[in-house]
Symmetry: D3
Subunit: 137 residues, 6 copies
Amino acid sequence: MTGGPDQDDPVAGFNAYRRRMNERILAEPNQVVRRFFALDTQTYRPGALDLKTKELLGLVASLVLRCDDCISYHVAQCHEAGVTREEMFEAFSVGLVVGGSIVIPHMRRAVDFLDRLGGTVQPPGPVPEPPEAHEHG
Amino acid sequence: MTGGPDQDDPVAGFNAYRRRMNERILAEPNQVVRRFFALDTQTYRPGALDLKTKELLGLVASLVLRCDDCISYHVAQCHEAGVTREEMFEAFSVGLVVGGSIVIPHMRRAVDFLDRLGGTVQPPGPVPEPPEAHEHG
Amino acid sequence: MTGGPDQDDPVAGFNAYRRRMNERILAEPNQVVRRFFALDTQTYRPGALDLKTKELLGLVASLVLRCDDCISYHVAQCHEAGVTREEMFEAFSVGLVVGGSIVIPHMRRAVDFLDRLGGTVQPPGPVPEPPEAHEHG
Amino acid sequence: MTGGPDQDDPVAGFNAYRRRMNERILAEPNQVVRRFFALDTQTYRPGALDLKTKELLGLVASLVLRCDDCISYHVAQCHEAGVTREEMFEAFSVGLVVGGSIVIPHMRRAVDFLDRLGGTVQPPGPVPEPPEAHEHG
Amino acid sequence: MTGGPDQDDPVAGFNAYRRRMNERILAEPNQVVRRFFALDTQTYRPGALDLKTKELLGLVASLVLRCDDCISYHVAQCHEAGVTREEMFEAFSVGLVVGGSIVIPHMRRAVDFLDRLGGTVQPPGPVPEPPEAHEHG
Amino acid sequence: MTGGPDQDDPVAGFNAYRRRMNERILAEPNQVVRRFFALDTQTYRPGALDLKTKELLGLVASLVLRCDDCISYHVAQCHEAGVTREEMFEAFSVGLVVGGSIVIPHMRRAVDFLDRLGGTVQPPGPVPEPPEAHEHG
């Protein structure tokens, strides 16, 4: 009953589960639910704001509301829209400061998901500023 | 540490875990906790509102607060109280519109759980209205 | 004890109250609180993402978390950063769809605040698409 | 900037503010926002579940999400749909137990609003069970 | 319909409104609601944890859930239980870091309420560390 | 993508995942994120309030915000700081009453985690007060 049942490839497992259950839901003759799904899709289409900005807005909204599946979805969409890792972390930082330390476990999973998407993994290199030892989160 | 450790029968696993941990909690001599559990049970007894309505209220409250275990519990209770799949989806639609797209991943798991309860699986048949292609949620 | 005690000029009243209480808080020798306030300021400085995008992220985060004072603050910041009314409404629409109808009362107050900021009030003109009569929200 | 600026008749003030700001919002050419408002209206139309049940669902969802304006709106809608005071309090009790003591201040304002709607004020009469003295909430 | 209608003495207004509406609620023959109120009172009685610790727990819970009336109530209770201003701010700092910047407007009102309670107003004196200029919150 | 992938020793798995992902996050040159992590650590250092009280505050805040990983972390920290099982349950009871029945599934997992930490498992012994049969939660 979790979002990503495939332990070997969590990204593929997450996508497959989402697709399968969305189909189950949309097969149901409930017009309000269907219209909501259509409206949700329409929301992120480029308009006065471009796709990238809208996906970043969806990402931060998901982060502060602490919904792992929504975060994973928008991380993938942002990645596809060309958001860089540095930009992604700036968006994470807004979500972290607005939403507080309660966001940290979701951010850990977001970074894990981002790393698995591949291509964005940036060699950490020399760490510019030694962070204080910390244990929390 | 998840609510349903039994991968083969998530419904049975969910129920067993809930029962076992409730027993652990109620074995503890903390009167406030025990009274809260008793009060929680009393809340859903038929009164001016019947059982079915009260369970639907519990379901929608759980949906907008996005608690998967609470949603599963109330889906099972509603199912047992005779709530039809169509009524269940109307309750879902209220939770979805009030709570927003952030509710969608929980609704996916709720429909998954409902399908596993058996008996309510309704053949999708010819889909009455072709929904827009969508990818989101 | 509300954020905007000045009935004649809510924007000025809101700003004065915020400034006065922030001073009270920062006069207190609590280093964690002070550092948090400094970090909050740093969060919105332009970096990989520009100021406008960051303020929009703060606005949508505030909207889905339904904090009127935070929304008012970011509406003012967005306005100052040159966000147009059309862009503002697209950000509102993301917050509305992610957060649900529970966001509507906050959006009403956000639009009210935006109107009072002046300069952005756009003549409604001929309404392009007649919305269904509705009563809700 | 509060929902009900008219101190003499809070119900009328609340309704006037809501109507005026909804008009402002719908005058804006943002299709996602308009469609969301239309969908919100559609959600509460009688279907497999009747109007009264749907309004009770909206009320409890609003209560646990702690949105005063949404609660007031659904209290008024429930009242109009013929929900009795006793049924209303049973719905409140579900919201209170699911959402916790944090719901109490909103319940106080909900009862206040309900009392002002008139007609439902029920003489308390002899109190059937003397509650423990309490100070909290 | 706000918690503190008395503009001249918000603390007294807050207390009067709370007391009056609690009486209205408890006059209603709903046993679940009454038992919840009694349980709420019982929760803060000294036990393995003393009164002061329990009230601080109630304060931080209210702060991160962002309920102004609950915060005001627990600030008053903590104050009466002998919590010093310095301890109160340390509790605020935990709520702020866990809950994020979204807590700031509630913290402003909490400090305002605390100042009005009197007796705890501590002369700021020489500020030990000059905080960065900041505008946010 | 869950917090505790090691099924045989969930506590060790939880700690390893947390440590590994925190390292990934802190390797990133984002100063706001790093400062937030440092501030989070500083928050729980003994000051006017002692370590035990601060960890209890963090526990209850995590409980009412319903973050399993945060709850597990603070349960472990409280346990290490010498919080007894009886005190832990009193803190749970505050979180339960403030946050409502929606907290119950998180409390089940918290008790499960606490039991696995070892050492605090207290023989239930003769149950002092027979709780009502209940099924809910």
